[in-house]
Amino acid sequence: MSLSSPSLPNKTGSGGFSPVTAVKKSSLRDRTFSRTLDKVYIGILFAASLTILAIVFGLLLQLAYSSRDTIHVFGFNFFTKDEWNPNTDVYAARPFIMATLYSSLIALLISVPISLGTAIFLSELCPKWLRTPLSFLVELLAAVPSVVYGLWAIFIMIPFVVKYIETPISTASMKIPVLHVGPHAHIELLHRRIFLGDLPIFDKAANGTDMLAAGLILAIMITPYITAVSRDILRAIPRSVREGSYALGSTKWEAIKLVVLPFARAGITGGVILGLGRALGETMAVTMVCGNGMGPFKWDLFNQCSTMASVIANDLGDASGLHISALIEIGLVLFLVTMIVNAGARLLIFFTAKDIQGGGK
């Protein structure tokens, strides 16, 4: 059976390369050789991808191995106690784990509404001439090095926050009437002044270098990631979905709220989890603004804290013996948490992307 097709140009055709021709031209020996070459090529690529897996698992094993001392000495107490004392060699990382989660939570609370709003604006409401420059600027935020964010935060963000947010909160007060039983058993109406700064989450005197600053700078840093992913998800939703909603008489906001957002919900959640992954691991900017406090964890927004990443950055140079093992165990915890968060995001996006593409029946 001939391999050539009469309709395809062969030797004399203009610009006439075609796979069929190429295959036909090569001899049997050549073809076996190129098939073997193919197999080798695939083998090399497979080995390269296995290398990445090997690096990840090797890292995991190395972290676990290097922290075996503290795992052995402290066990589960490492996660439940509050003491971190290099002098007496007692290590427990609960303050840092909680601080990392708390600062990431604050970052999400601030960033998600802003990112979502920006993404909705960029995909639904933005005039065409503004769309590209604005998208570009948002993505540019992601490219700024974290040290630069830290510097900006120290010199500009923190003084601003102290002056306009933290001090007003600390000094805000209200007079409330209180019934008081006087010394001669008569009831009088007194006024007592209560301060917003007495609440546990605003307890400490505000100086700017605290948990709130860490949360704020993280919020700024993860906004571009969430915005970019959300905008892409929203743009991928077929027009027919929106148009169907308009056809039923909805306003623009109703279309967004009732139709578009639920459709995109899973993808946006994936984007949020990606941003969370970044917030958990951010080191430099956080350590410059969080205050590096070593005390027990408090829900106080004005309290100086240390996140897992900032403790490792600060202590590693000086550490030896059990101290290093404790720091590596913190690194192990951070690695596992970030891996799980990122894996979860990927799986979520993977399972829901199909829905979007197959949507619009």
Binding site: E83, W84, N85, P86, N87, T88, I154, F155, I158, P159, A205, N207, G208, T209, T287, G291, N292, G293, M294, G295, Q304, S306, N314, D315, G317, D318, A319, S320, G321
Partner: protein, 338 residues
């Protein structure tokens, strides 16, 4: 045309390599790597420049903190470590081979503050400082502070304590002083290059602390004297063991070392010493080397220079030179190095 250019560049490359080999044949001093204390960094920068100008080796010093410097020395990534706290028992054991400590300057650790309306040179006693850093005294107009400084208008504001977040010899000197003047401090916190601070924010390096001090009102902290002067931060007079309130400067830092007993390995803290006119929070900064190393010759030359010519630049940079008697003992040890 291209071909002859190619031949020409090959010839040029061969010439350069030959020339380099010739130059490499001439013996010249090897580069020295050092790391450690930020306390001594201002004068170390001068020393490395001056030493090279006077014909010595090129020295590269990184101010990563005393603790990190000692770790680098033990891991043999640097040739010498700068530290304001001598190696402790664990570090000496980890070093494996004998090490030598050489005091190169005496420095003062002022208690710095940034309070509006308060001039430089207010008075503090040791236990007031300890209580502030313990978090017991929380406001600037606390009677413990105002009673020492009559006539000054302290605001009714919270004190923001700033300390070091990294392992630091400056912390070593400061906590050694606090442990001597406050039994409560000694019990609760103790001394060391890295302690569990009961209160306050941490800055990375003396420069990090200075930055935090400048940007926060009503703050108090501790840095090395040259950082305070460089950043124009006010500092306090501290009452020494003779009862006098002393202002930190090179003369009083040097005076603190008067009459102390220096052991043969030169590892000693002398905070709160019995010297009458001394500033109580002062200490040595040491250059630490392995006794035997491949660069002993270059290290020996550098140490000799530091202990002789180098001492002349100390006072101008707000350090105090090592007293003559101690220097002579050190030079004897340096000269005995092989």
């Amino acid at each position: 045309m291209t071909l002859s250019l190619f031949r020409y560049s090959k010839f040029a490359a061969a010439l350069i390599i030959a020339g380099g080999a010739l130059m490499g044949g001439v013996a010249h001093a090897q580069d020295l790597q050092g790391a450690g204390s930020t306390f001594v960094n201002p004068i170390m920068t001068h020393w490395t420049a001056d030493y090279r100008k006077s014909g010595g080796a090129t020295i590269n010093y990184q101010a990563v903190g005393s603790g990190a410097g000692i770790n680098d020395l033990i891991n043999k990534t640097v040739d010498f470590a700068g530290s304001d706290a001598p190696m402790n028992a664990v570090q000496l054991k980890n070093a494996g081979a004998p090490t030598l400590h050489f005091p190169d300057v005496i420095g003062a650790v002022p208690v710095v503050y940034n309070v509006e309306g308060i001039p430089p040179g207010i008075n503090f006693t040791g236990d007031v400082v300890a209580n502030i850093f313990l978090g017991r005294i929380t406001k600037w107009n606390d009677p413990a502070i105002t009673s020492l400084n009559p006539g000054k208008n302290f605001p009714d504001a919270a004190i923001f304590v700033v300390h070091r977040s990294d392992g630091s010899g400056t912390t070593g000197i400061f906590t050694d002083y606090l442990s001597r003047v406050s039994p409560e401090w000694k019990n609760i916190v103790g001394e060391g290059t890295s302690v569990r601070w009961p209160a306050g924010l941490g800055g990375k390096g003396s420069s990090g602390v200075a930055l935090l001090m400048r940007s926060h009102a009503n703050s108090i902290g501790y840095v090395e004297l040259s950082y305070a002067i460089e950043n124009s931060i006010y500092y306090a007079k501290i009452r020494n063991s003779a009862g006098k309130f002393i202002y930190p400067e090179p003369a009083t830092a040097a005076a603190e070392a008067d009459g102390i007993k220096v052991p043969d390995d030169f590892r000693v803290f002398f905070t709160n010493s019995s010297a009458k006119g001394g500033y109580p929070i002062s200490g040595f900064s040491w250059l630490i080397i392995y006794k035997n190393s491949s660069k002993t010759g270059d290290l020996k030359n550098f140490l000799k220079w530091v202990l002789t010519d180098g001492q002349n630049s100390a006072t101008a940079l707000n350090y105090a030179p090592i007293p003559k008697s101690i220097r002579e003992k050190e030079l004897a040890v340096v000269n005995a190095l092989k």
